[in-house]
């Protein structure tokens, strides 16, 4: 590699080196990361969200957007109220995140996910579908901390619980180009710093990289100096 190449590599290093693995992060729901109690004490990580076959067929939008081979269910997408205070369903890409982050429709909370839907992945490990209402309950401790070690405990209130009321959250499933045109001078032409759009829309995964916590809060880029905000907003 010549000098220019080395120089470029050094310059580019921060961009390509700022990655972390999902292993050991808060999204690692395996029994290794959260002490395992429950029927599956395995180290499988991806199964909490993904399955190579028989994924959730509901999470496909009319414009072709879809959740990536999703292994979780939502029970009632009509529960959502979007940022602009109209009832409506976010895109499938964000519904995927919300299948956990929406919280659970229990204990007085409103959510698109009831306790049955949240406790059962669609396709259990091993061959064969678990079937509707069936399936394994992998690793209770990941969500019910009182069961490590021990058992039971209510689903705790946490700040990552977004809920079905999205009026207090950054707008998602909105068309970026439309906002760019509506408010001239307030947005970059397209997001930078690795932030991405999905079918031209802002979704949860626009700002968050669900597998990589190198920047904290699974953000795609560092938020020092509010760098995440400034990847789209000119303020």
């Amino acid at each position: 590699m010549n000098k220019t190449g080395i120089f470029a590599f050094i310059l580019l290093f921060p961009m390509i080196a700022a990655t972390d693995s999902i292993v050991g992060s808060k999204h690692d729901l395996s029994a290794t990361n959260y002490y395992g109690v429950g029927s599956d004490a395995s180290n499988r990580i991806c199964i909490f969200c993904h399955t190579p076959h028989s994924a959730n067929a509901d999470l496909i939008d009319g414009d072709g957007g879809k959740a990536p081979i999703w292994n979780r269910r939502l029970s009632d997408v009509s529960a959502f109220v979007l940022y602009d205070e109209t009832p409506g369903s976010p895109s499938s890409v964000s519904l995927a995140c919300l299948s956990c982050h929406d919280g659970v429709n229990a204990q007085g909370r409103i959510s698109a996910v009831d306790a049955g839907a949240t406790h059962r992945i669609i396709n259990a490990s091993g061959s064969g579908l678990a079937g509707p209402g069936g399936g394994e309950d992998p690793n209770c401790a990941a969500c019910h901390p009182f069961s490590r070690p021990g058992g039971g405990g209510l689903y705790p209130d946490t700040t990552w619980q977004i809920g079905a009321d999205l009026t207090d959250d950054h707008p998602i499933s909105i068309n970026y180009a439309a906002s760019f045109a509506h408010r001239p001078g307030e947005f970059l032409a397209s997001p930078i710093n690795g932030l991405k759009l999905f079918n031209g829309k802002v979704e949860c995964a626009s700002c968050h990289d669900v597998h990589d916590n190198a920047n904290g809060l699974f953000l795609r880029t560092s938020n020092t100096g509010s760098g995440v905000c400034k990847s789209c907003h000119i303020k």
């Binding site: 220019t4 700040t159 990552w160 938020n223 990847s231």
Partner: protein, 675 residues
């Protein structure tokens, strides 16, 4: 370009992230902030106001608690009288009027610590504050900062108010509305709530921008112009008249370096509204005046009149110095009475119910005052009076308002029979004649009931009670100076209606009988011909009598002017000589060798003439011995009890029962009645 160079270029482009706008402003409260108030350790900028999840009450995505303060809302009699929709306070829930402004006030009212945010990086802070420097002991914005608005919003531009250009109030003739444009000019923003539009702090301010004072407008040549353009984006005070109409002076700059450092200009035309008004922290309430009432006119935006280009003492320009004139012996009480004048008070004269109840109006009883804006409309006036420079009187006399009196409210009396008090008035949104402005206060409308022309209100310096000028100038009277209408059109007067041209001096001796005149052709400043500002602001002469001659009915030494003075040079300073050629009146010339008539030259003018030469129920401003003070000087100077004017006066045209005028004991009998 080689691959490596392309990669380097892309890298550089990506890292230069957009315009770092708020970063360079005082609203960058992070460690990289440029102002005095900033955090010692927090690197995120947006988090001081915004949070992308679990946002609190407020828009958009608000990260602070709403202050619970009860704010004193801006209010004025003007808005009440217009029935302008008024909020009861600033809303607290998001989406309610005033809530957006309450969000700004979560730092700017000084009650909540600047580092008091709800959540940082997923952690709810609770009672913990972000550590800040530059705040006061409790972490709030220091009280000494101009940006600390506090909770008294009455001296700040209204926020949380609906934007409503359709509200208006009717006068007898004309109406006044809220003088707002149908839609504000960009970039000013209004906020839609519940089908109506509202103004908030962020209508004028963008809290992220690098523009000075966070103004949305930045297209002006200097900050002064940006302030101006912010105001006139919504406010249309000119009534559609093309700008400039007033205060357009570009040749009269401020001399105050503070004006330059604040506004980037010395030019009043750049400041425009901001010469007199300030949207924050004005001393004059309401109407956001910089100073209390007339003091605003004296110094404008300068820190004192002496470095302004305005109407105060010592202003080093040729703007009329009204402040000094108001210190003379006889003045309208502009500088003496403050806090009484209310806008639209013209509508609330004697007998009209006050709105709002308990407010002030036009009344010598409880609202006596005289402010600059009672006679001048600073938004609509031009700089010319009705007289050319260097003259006492206009070349072509008139009673129509001049440019300097344009757009001022007034009253037109409904005329009653001869020598009685008009009590019914048509209120005018914009006077067409000068006397309509004066009669707002100098008639029943503010004076209240008068008896035989005289009110109950003493003019302390002049030593007489104020008389009712609508009463005196009533066209149904038999004589009056032609203020309301020309003598030839005066219904109460009979032929010969006017004097002859030989009896008058220029400019009054042309077109005799068809001319009209101003109240302020007689009343004005000592030296209008030599530089005093024109108008009845103040004078060292009693009654503010103006002209080359200033005394009536007493000479400077206190003795009375007599008929003989007209011919023997003793009439120096006699006021009437300004316009009247007194020698040409045959009656004045009367001489006889008879002993009695040898006394005639010693008879004071006020033996025959009313001492208040406005009008009389008798022709030629003659008065009868039954007239009361002040028409009858000292109550006992008038001698006649019968008079009739004629083209050629004869002895029988006057009648008297007194010894002094016993030549007139017999007479014709067809005398002017009283009243």
């Amino acid at each position: 370009m080689s691959l490596i160079n392309k990669i380097i270029l892309i890298f550089v482009l990506i890292q230069s992230t957009g315009n770092a706008v708020i970063d360079n402003t005082k609203h960058n409260l992070s460690v990289t902030g440029t102002g005095t108030i900033k955090s010692t350790n927090e690197t995120e900028i947006c988090v001081f106001c915004h949070i992308p999840h679990s946002a609190q009450q407020g828009r958009p995505l608000w990260n602070r608690s709403m202050p619970s303060s009860a704010y004193t809302i801006y209010q004025s009699d003007y808005l009440d009288r217009l029935n302008y929709p008024k909020p009861s306070g600033l809303g607290i829930e998001k989406g309610t009027p005033g809530s957006l402004s309450r969000q700004c006030l979560s730092c700017h009212d000084g009650t909540i610590a600047i580092g008091d945010v709800y959540m940082v990086r997923g952690n709810i802070l609770g009672d913990t504050l972000i550590d800040m420097t530059g705040t006061d002991g409790g972490g709030m914005m220091p009280q000494t900062l101009v940006a600390n608005i506090g909770t008294d919003l009455s001296t700040h531009h209204p926020v949380g108010y609906e934007y409503n250009p359709d509200v208006s109030i009717s006068f007898g003739e004309g109406s006044r509305n809220s003088e707002l444009k149908a839609n504000p000019d960009a970039p000013i923003r209004l906020y839609q709530m519940g089908g109506k539009r509202y103004i908030e702090c962020s209508s004028c301010h963008d809290p992220h921008t690098e523009n000075k004072k966070f103004l949305r407008v930045n297209t002006g040549a200097n900050h002064g112009q940006n302030v101006r353009d912010t105001c006139i984006a919504c406010h249309d005070k000119s009534g559609g008249a093309p700008w400039p109409t007033t205060h357009e002076v570009t040749g009269m700059p401020y001399k105050d370096t503070e004006v330059l450092s604040k506004y980037g200009t010395y030019n009043p035309a750049d400041l425009f509204c901001a010469n007199c008004h300030t949207p924050h922290n004005g001393e004059g309430k309401p109407y956001l005046l910089r100073k209390v009432e007339q003091q605003t006119c004296f110094q404008g935006a300068a820190s004192s009149a002496g470095v302004s280009s305005c109407h105060g003492t010592g202003a080093p320009t040729s703007a009329p110095d009204i402040e000094s004139v108001l210190l003379r012996s006889y003045t309208h009480p502009v500088s003496e009475i403050d806090g009484v004048h209310t806008d639209l008070d013209t509508l609330y004269g004697t007998g009209v119910n006050r709105n709002p109840s308990g407010s002030l109006g036009l009344s010598w009883d409880d609202s006596k005052h005289a402010e600059c804006t009672d006679c001048h409309n600073p938004h609509k006036l031009g700089s010319k009076s009705h007289v050319d420079k260097g003259q006492w009187y206009p070349s072509t006399p008139t009673n129509l308002v001049s440019a300097v009196l344009r757009g001022v409210s007034g009253v037109e009396p409904v005329w009653t029979p001869r020598w009685s008090q008009p009590t019914s008035f048509t209120t005018l949104e914009s006077s067409t004649k000068e006397y309509q402005i004066c009669m707002k206060c100098h008639s029943y409308w503010a004076l209240g009931t008068a008896v035989e022309g005289t009110s109950a209100h003493l003019l302390a310096r002049e030593g007489i009670n104020a008389t009712d000028q609508a009463w005196e100038f009533n066209p149904n009277n038999r004589s009056a100076h032609p203020v309301v209408m020309s003598l030839n059109t005066m219904p109460g007067s009979y032929e010969p209606k006017s004097l002859s041209s030989g009896q008058l001096l220029p400019p009054w001796n042309t077109n005799v009988g068809n001319q009209t005149m101003y109240c302020s052709d007689c009343h004005g400043a000592d030296n209008e011909i030599g530089g005093d500002p024109r108008g009845p602001h103040g004078s060292n002469y009693k009654f503010m009598l103006k002209g080359e001659n200033n005394y009536w009915p007493e000479k400077p030494d206190g003795s009375l002017y007599t008929v003989g003075d007209i011919f023997n040079g003793g009439d120096e300073g006699l006021f009437c000589k300004n316009c009247h050629n007194l020698e040409a009146a045959n009656v004045h010339r009367f001489k006889s060798s008879n002993m009695v008539n040898a006394d005639f030259p010693n008879y004071p003018c006020v033996y025959c003439h009313v001492a208040v030469p406005h009008g009389s129920p008798v022709s030629r401003l003659i008065g009868y011995d039954s007239f009361p003070q002040p028409y009858n000087y000292n109550g006992d100077s008038l001698k006649l009890d019968g008079y009739e004017k004629a083209p050629y006066m004869a002895k029988s045209n006057a009648h008297s029962s007194t010894r002094a005028c016993r030549c007139h004991r017999r007479g014709g009998g067809n005398y002017d009645s009283y009243p």
